[in-house]
Symmetry: D2
Subunit: 285 residues, 4 copies
């Protein structure tokens, strides 16, 4: 059974950073499984992700964070996160009427492609109650309108906290999420937008793509921030369309891209391979 | 030797359109080499491109247009164009400092991949005078500034008319082209924009793509209209980039996409496979 | 409600083919919704797919085939098939242990993206019995070994015939299908092979792709014929991999391509957009 | 002016490798500009590429290799190569009749996209003598036939040695290169094959792709070894084709892929980002 630690960090670039981190691991008998680092010369910031085997590691798991912070992190002014291979993320799904992303995620989790739990599905419609039940996942319906929206969102935040949700996925949830909700899950809420951002921000992107006569439709998975569709981008992809394709065909072709792009983004998050820095996502590979 | 006619047309959708056109050709002993047609249900418009062998065709080449217009075109309110395989397009290239599109086009023409002539290259800089000379193509330098711009463009229009230019290609020409110039070449001026339009309209798209943290950079070839970067799109494509890639790397990866996208668009135009309708390009295939 | 006919045909190229077919439709008051045709000059064969509105069509639906065959088909030695928009395909799924294609297909059918029925799922393992039940689809387990294989396949053919199956989909069914089975469903059995055919025919393609050090992995959906992995190709696609990706990662990345490629192929078949000619698939678009 | 060193290495995986190399650099006042490393668990081999600034580096440039070998390389049984940013590769081009790769490479070098020299172009035909002269590059014609082939190749090897050629690029050179020639440039001869290897090894791949009815055509850039088209793959890519595309169209679409794939492979080699290990190419990024 694999038993490893993942350290993700960034700090202002300085000499000796790679050596400092790798020595900390090697000296304590940790074997590095993978290491990625780079410097963004535009902002002179250093980024690193390192994964090492804990089996013979000299420092007890629960103390690694303390030791690293004291010996290395503070000294180099690092922002860092430490994760372990035995943590299992708890993911909540928010959906409206479009079904393709929901089915794709349920399939990946149910077939154990991803090691996560889905304690609940939330929707502003009842369409997907039945499929949620087929997969044995509690379904929570919140009817939303202009009046009750704020109150309903407060209840949603409560519900997510009760269930210790680590990651909220807006899997084609056709509502704009309010500020308090966004602030409750900073860097832990992923949305799929059905366009190649920053093109076609906002509503009805496939209609606007059709009107503009584009030759590719796209999808963008991003962390949600307070500005609509302006959050840091995790993954994007496109599909070719032609002048023959009407809006329904753009929607269908785009749908296949959306579910793939969202799945890749979720996977990267689950694997602790993402790091947000100044509205950009470093995606370690 | 191939000797064929190409008819490209559109009109309001009606019953019997395909039958009417194909009968006109078959009855006069023309063999259809390819035919594409479709109806855009959104606007209820019919589009068609048909190519036929002229070797045994009963109507003399110079009268085909008259006959078709009288017998079919007017009756169905068609907008149509007729071209022949022995026409050879005369293409003018406009460039600034970036070189990749220029070299790619020169290579394709010089190696006879495309059957076009390039009677002249125009630039607001002197950088590419030498390569133009190597390929034996007259190079015209027009220094441009805020004061002389209008006058210089008038001279450029004159020059193009003197040389009977059919198609103007802005192959990374970093100037905004004035209204009179655009109006002189309606549907006959192609620009390559170094972004996936409608994202990053205007200046410095790679810088803005970097700032936004996109995961793909793109390029768009479009017919030039009076609104900057809003003309009908002929072709688009993208290339993957990562968080590691700085602006210079985005520029480099994008450059390879630009030259490919522009080449595909020019080729489609040369083959008479494009048709502009309401700010969209029908690209027959 | 749409009510249309689809005619798919091929014959030796001759003059007047398009005119003959389109006149047959227009003269009888049918409105052509889409038409695609081309000639393969390599073999001098003509291919056509035409779809027309039946609402005002003069010939009763049940007699269209007779009339077309008598008036047009025989005269031009056409091979043709006629389909109607109200037919609903009955599709059987065959699976082994890999789950991704199965879940993807179930999701598309259950969410009504595709208008088909799945009367049964067949497997040589019990792994997917539970998910079949969740979707309310009868699951048939056939344990297979060298001795019983022929007998078991006979039972499978019987089962499929009892259920009037139109299309058999081998959705990562890791058994080689016997000759009698293939012959029972000519042009009606689709397989997904987890490689870019003709590379890596046969077993363990991802292992061999890893050994060869390829930079892309692929997937191929094809009609099954008696020669293993040699059937006519409907659709292919690829995904990029790097030197870092081990066999499990190739398998995972390839899996996403497989399910997309298989889905596109099934969709084309459902829409009657495929035509097999001399081990090639014409895919009308 | 950038002044940096690049170290590319591999060795059996052991603890402390990253720390050992990075300490060697940091301790001697080198600032790491980029570092990539990974372990191939399949073969338990460690791979690394590290690039560092030489401006304040304590060890004189000409002694870095000695010091590194003695202190680190030998101890860990490393295979390593050391390069410096001021080296300029000397590249020879071999071509036959197809022109697209040649023009693309000439364009990139002449426009200074790549920092390499092309001291000579070799061909078994005279077609490209004129374009070589336009770019001022000496052209060497070697007529080849079954009798003189061995002797001509010996002369070619001589010629390349006289000109101190570092890298031989077979830019659509339609001859099979003999064993002595291959052995004279191990890991320093790149070929572009016009197929997605290992599909369509050998002659006329587009013809065979057409016969097989594939839906994508591809290209593969690889280091040349003694086995035809079996050398380690540097880069591959594909382009979509349809049933309509005849062999000439496959050739044309494939040509655009070939030139892009070959250019990417050459660039990786120039940047010292490739490492051959057991018939696989590690392509650092």
């Amino acid at each position: 059974m694999l038993n490893f630690a993942v350290l993700v960090l960034h700090c202002p670039d300085q000499k000796g950073l790679v050596a400092a981190v790798t020595e900390f691991i090697s000296r304590n008998n940790g074997n590095i499984l993978s290491l990625e680092q780079h410097v963004d010369r535009h902002v002179n910031e250093f980024f690193m992700r390192v994964q090492w085997d804990l089996n013979a590691f000299a420092i007890p798991k629960e103390k690694i964070g303390d030791y690293f912070g004291t010996l290395i992190g503070t000294r180099y002014q690092m922002q860092w996160q430490l994760h372990f291979s035995d943590e299992r993320l708890r993911m909540a799904l928010f959906v409206s009427k479009p079904a393709h992303c929901l089915y794709d995620i349920l399939g990946r989790v149910h077939s154990r492609e991803w090691q996560v739990d889905i304690p609940l599905i939330v929707s502003n419609h009842l369409d997907h109650q039945e499929v949620s039940q087929r997969f044995g996942i509690p379904f929570h319906h919140f009817a939303m309108n202009a009046e009750n929206r704020h109150a309903q969102e407060q209840k949603q935040i409560e519900l997510l906290k009760q269930h210790n949700i680590d990651l909220v996925v807006l899997a084609r949830y056709m509502m704009i999420v309010g500020k308090p909700f966004v602030q409750a899950f900073p860097g832990r809420m992923i949305n799929i937008h059905h366009a190649f951002l920053p093109a076609f921000i906002g509503a009805k992107p496939y209609h606007r793509a059709y009107e503009r006569g584009v030759k590719l439709v796209g999808a963008t998975a991003h962390y949600v921030t307070e500005e609509l569709d302006e959050g840091p981008i995790i993954e994007q992809d496109v599909a070719r369309v032609t002048h023959i394709d009407a809006i329904d065909e753009l929607t269908r072709r785009g749908g296949d891209v959306e579910k793939l792009v969202l799945a890749r983004a979720i996977r990267r998050h689950i694997e602790r391979k993402t790091l947000i820095f100044q509205n950009r996502v470093i995606v370690f590979d």
